[in-house]
Symmetry: C2
Subunit: 212 residues, 2 copies
């Protein structure tokens, strides 16, 4: 069955792999599934055809036969549930891997996005400088326990899982900020993730779209 995902016709990050289609491409590469990509302009994301796929007008979406999904977390979980390689077979270990997916998206990503959004949209405001230490401390509050946990292991819970895929994807957002220099354990974790052949294929595929 053909799988079709959507991605930006031109990603705001210019091909750094931070748009969320990269997570889905990565999961598909990990399990060895081919996929097609429908590229959407910013205008098309707010048009009826795409809003029928995702009412919030975002990428990525995922189509597989008559199933249409949005939310990178839900899409990666669908792929991980249907194909071997991203969730451990043991039922409890499986729930813990899914827990790390939620932790990445609901505990670690929000302060990182808040920090990035402030940099992007409020850098020139009179309050930018005063708010920065608070925003940075919120990010560090998540990175510290994560760094401690990963100090003794390669991945969050046993073998590489969908939880690591999502956590590394979220941490990749920090690369331009310098945060990872403060947490060498996390920098090494992200580097390990980036070295996976599946990640490299996913990164290259999105770069090809966005290369100048």
């Amino acid at each position: 069955m053909t799988i079709t995902i959507t991605a930006f016709e031109r990603s705001p990050d210019g091909g750094k792999g931070l748009a969320r289609d990269t997570r889905v491409r990565w999961a598909l590469e990990e399990v060895g599934l081919p996929y097609e990509v429908r590229l959407e302009s910013f205008a098309a994301l707010k048009a009826e055809a795409h809003l029928a796929r995702n009412p919030f007008g975002q990428i990525p979406t995922y189509e597989e036969g008559d199933l249409t999904l949005f939310e990178s977390g839900a899409i990666v979980l669908r792929i991980a549930e249907q194909h071997a390689g991203l969730l451990p077979p043991d039922d409890r270990a499986r729930s813990r891997a899914i827990m790390w997916m939620f932790a990445a998206l609901n505990t670690v990503e929000p302060p990182i996005l808040e920090f990035s959004m402030a940099r992007l949209f409020e850098a020139d405001t009179p309050w930018a400088e005063a708010r920065t230490p608070m925003l940075m401390e919120r990010v560090r509050g998540r990175l510290r326990p994560l760094s401690e946990r990963l100090s003794a292991m390669d991945w969050l819970d046993g073998d590489f899982s969908a939880g690591d895929l999502m956590m590394a994807s979220v941490l990749l957002r920090l690369k331009p900020s310098g945060f990872l220099n403060e947490f060498p354990v996390l920098a090494a974790y992200v580097a390990r993730a980036e070295q996976r052949p599946a990640y490299q294929r996913a990164f290259a595929a999105q770069l090809k779209v966005n290369a100048p």
Copy 2:
């Protein structure tokens, strides 16, 4: 098998049901599972025993035999997967219900939390007034498509599911803010959720802990 969750000894919201243990209590009530509650002080959340359950030092956690989970999303999904009542039997409908859980936690909740956090921690700053319209617009950007979707149906996709449980829990955060008055469709959705006997039992149980 005994299920034990953790909750605040004294919730910062004074019993409005907005602490995330309510979501887990609600899910347990929907599927009819008994549970025990370990109440934690703020100091205990940062102590070793609790950090072993959740390295980020938050509630709720969930213990079932030798499985320990944190993240309300992961816990609700575990409950929904193991017991009938919160996920539809059809495989595609099931993936869509899980999609709405992720949408609640990763698309709708972050701007709501950002708005609430600014109210809580930055209300007295010189920039509070200038930032408020931007923060409110970010919240409305999520509420508008959600309201449109729910205008023709009671729940997000067919019968009530774990997706609705999570979305309604997230929207409940808006009750004190007046936002829901702008979106009567969402106010009605939240009211429908609150009328569910399982929600009422969950709410009462957390209120009992927090009642003065």
